[in-house]
Subunit: 149 residues, 2 copies
DNA sequence: TGATTTATATCGTATCACGATATATTTGCG
DNA sequence: CGCAAATATATCGTGATACGATATAAATCA
């Protein structure tokens, strides 16, 4: 039985954490496959989404892309070049110091095609995700709640 | 302004989706670094957690590991061997057909050290994650709610 | 202008994950 | 029993990719 020792870590915690990560992996897996079907690497897709998801007015530079994707600047630069080569972005070099990446119509179209399936997948995984989060937030209360119904 | 056209995709959706993925990446980034500090690759950590998170009684085989991590069986076998080499698991070959991976005390200790920080990180990201999920579930209601306060 | 700082680009390399294939074990059936 | 078929795991070579180190370019400021 669930021994919640002095460390405060119970088997319930581990199970919930493992489930949470499983759901995340499953979502990534789905997203990777979906992107690849349209000829994008997962990184390219995430980059496009990161640009698209900026509040209107905000502009995406290489270094900002690096921050948002948690990759070194060098990797973000590689990525930016590949996005440009595939005509997913145009690089606005009005100010050459901090070139701005702008989505092309091609990229917008791809996002329009990819996103609905993602929203569907998210709604699928949401219940399990929320359950795991709740358990990790306070599983003791959850256990009581489970008893009560 | 947020044009939610016939496609049903608004800028709010994209922003929420981008934020959701940003949070997931941030968590992964944290987890990767934390695991590496203890000498584990991210994959090794996820494998250990997947084993630890099994409901008591359940047993982890190579093929099951492959399923849970969404990797080919070959990759799971590589991983299993590396886990054994580092003495994170012992391979129970009572039935040689489907060897069972069991966590060693070393692995248990590592999980005990890694997990609290992960729970903390999860509690950190939870609010933003939940917000994004709610927006994607039904952002129109959210906008109204935002007006009202 | 020349020096300094900051941002991006280039390039070689090490790592890793995977596909193809081989091996081992169980099962089924004559 | 023994041999074939099915299933699970192991091995190995290779291509992709991400990254560190380094170079280049632009802005800032004295």
């Amino acid at each position: 039985m669930t021994s919640s020792g002095s460390g405060g870590l119970s088997e319930v915690d581990y199970e919930a954490l493992a489930n949470l990560r499983y759901r995340i992996r499953k979502f990534r897996q789905f997203s990777t496959k979906a992107a690849e079907k349209l000829g994008l690497t997962p990184q390219q897709h995430q980059a496009l989404l990161a640009i698209k998801g900026l509040r209107s007015g905000a502009q995406m530079s290489v270094s900002m892309l690096a921050e948002r994707l948690f990759v070194p600047t060098a990797s973000a630069a590689d990525l930016a070049r590949s996005l440009e080569e595939h005509a997913y972005v145009i690089v606005d070099v009005k100010q050459r110091r901090r070139p701005i990446l702008r989505l092309t119509d091609k990229a917008e179209e791809i996002l329009r095609r990819l996103t609905p399936a993602h929203l569907y997948e998210i709604r699928e995984m949401a219940p399990e995700l929320l359950l795991a989060l709740r358990v990790l937030q306070d599983h003791r209360r959850m256990e009581v709640a489970a008893w009560m119904q």
